[in-house]
């Protein structure tokens, strides 16, 4: 009630909140991150357009005999195809069927962790839903964001989807075996990345021919070693 005159009108009370609407997700993400750190597991949030080659990158990683023990979960709208492909390649994998959700959030990953033992693992990959917009918004508790960008997507994708690329710790430029067939310039892609990533890090490779895969494997090994040394930067 209005306290000044007792007129009976409801009072308007201002309330200062100043809290991120992602605070709930971020709490669970921090919890996931503790799980990963506790087990010395490098957790990656693998993002990119539909069909950019996220699953193929992991298949190529398995073929490279890295010596790293890798497991994965795949965010898939309706199927478990990616998880089955990864299992066939020798990477233990489950799918997180998201239904209509266009991204994974920290809670979904936390739930998946109940089915995936982290003990004895080196790398845990979350293959996010193919989408350059929504997945970028949600922290999953990863140590690093890796964005798979295929050369067939054109040079302007970083400029059109700056949020995703700003948050990338590494961009894997895939399908470079197709460059001879395309009018796409590596320099133009790198220029677009320099306008969206403060510290651009790019590894170009072909999951098909295996060209460049050793640089990706070296990056994985270095990030994993950095974790153990306690020097890896926390994921953004």
């Amino acid at each position: 009630m209005c306290e000044d005159c007792g007129c009976g009108d409801p009072a308007l009370v201002p309330v200062e909140v100043q809290e991120s609407l992602l605070a709930g997700n971020d709490r669970v993400a921090r919890h996931n991150r503790e799980h990963f750190l506790e087990h010395g597991v490098l957790a990656l949030n693998l993002m990119g357009s539909p069909g950019s080659g996220k699953t193929a990158l992991l298949e190529a990683t398995a073929r490279a005999h890295t010596g790293l023990r890798i497991a994965a979960v795949s965010g898939d709208l309706a199927t478990d195809r990616d998880a089955r492909r990864l299992e066939a390649a020798g990477i233990p994998a489950r799918s997180i069927t998201t239904g209509s959700a266009c991204h994974l959030d920290a809670e979904m990953v936390h739930h998946a962790l109940h089915h995936q033992a982290l003990a004895g693992l080196d790398v845990f990959v979350v293959e996010n839903v193919g989408n350059l917009v929504c997945p970028a918004v949600y922290d999953l508790g990863q140590n690093a964001n890796v964005v798979v960008l295929s050369v067939t997507e054109g040079e302007d994708k970083p400029l059109k989807y700056p949020v995703m690329f700003r948050k990338a710790d590494l961009v894997v430029l895939t399908k470079i075996d197709l460059l001879p067939h395309l009018d796409v310039s590596r320099a133009a892609i790198e220029d677009a990345l320099a306008r969206t990533m403060p510290e651009p890090a790019v590894i170009a490779l072909s999951a098909k021919t295996g060209e460049g895969v050793e640089r990706w494997v070296a990056w994985l090994a270095a990030r994993h070693a950095g974790l153990a040394a306690g020097t890896a930067a926390a994921g953004s």
């Binding site: 309330v15 100043q18 809290e19 609407l21 959700a101 917009v133 929504c134 970028a136 320099a194």
Partner: protein
């Protein structure tokens, strides 16, 4: 459309404040959304209109403050214009997004009977 998840988090947060203050209704909801947050204000507005039925926000006014992206050099604080290479031309240090990535519930006005 992840804006629906954002709006669900918004409604939950506002409901908790309304409960804590024993409010009969929420009159104004003020949020700030950065242009580099990955969230579209228009989609937030339509998701809000869909999801608020039956909550204390049913009649609330949603005010969205858009926050422009501000990039600045980490070393010398020189601001960089949008679309520039994100390296300071003066000292070579990488730029940081100083603001423009927020998705924030700023304040509410509650009706307390």
């Amino acid at each position: 459309m992840h804006e629906m998840s954002i709006v669900q988090a918004l409604l939950d947060r506002v409901e908790a404040e309304a409960e804590a203050h024993a409010a009969s209704a929420v009159v104004v909801v003020r949020v700030a959304i950065g242009t580099q947050s990955g969230v579209e204000p228009d989609l937030v507005r339509s998701a809000f209109d869909l999801a608020r039925a039956g909550t204390r926000c049913a009649e609330a006014e949603l005010v969205i403050r858009s926050v422009e992206a501000v990039w600045a050099c980490v070393a010398c604080a020189r601001p960089l214009a949008a679309g520039e290479r994100l390296r300071c031309p003066r000292c070579g240090a990488p730029a940081r997004l100083a603001s423009g990535d927020e998705i924030l519930l700023e304040r509410l006005e509650l009706e307390v009977a």
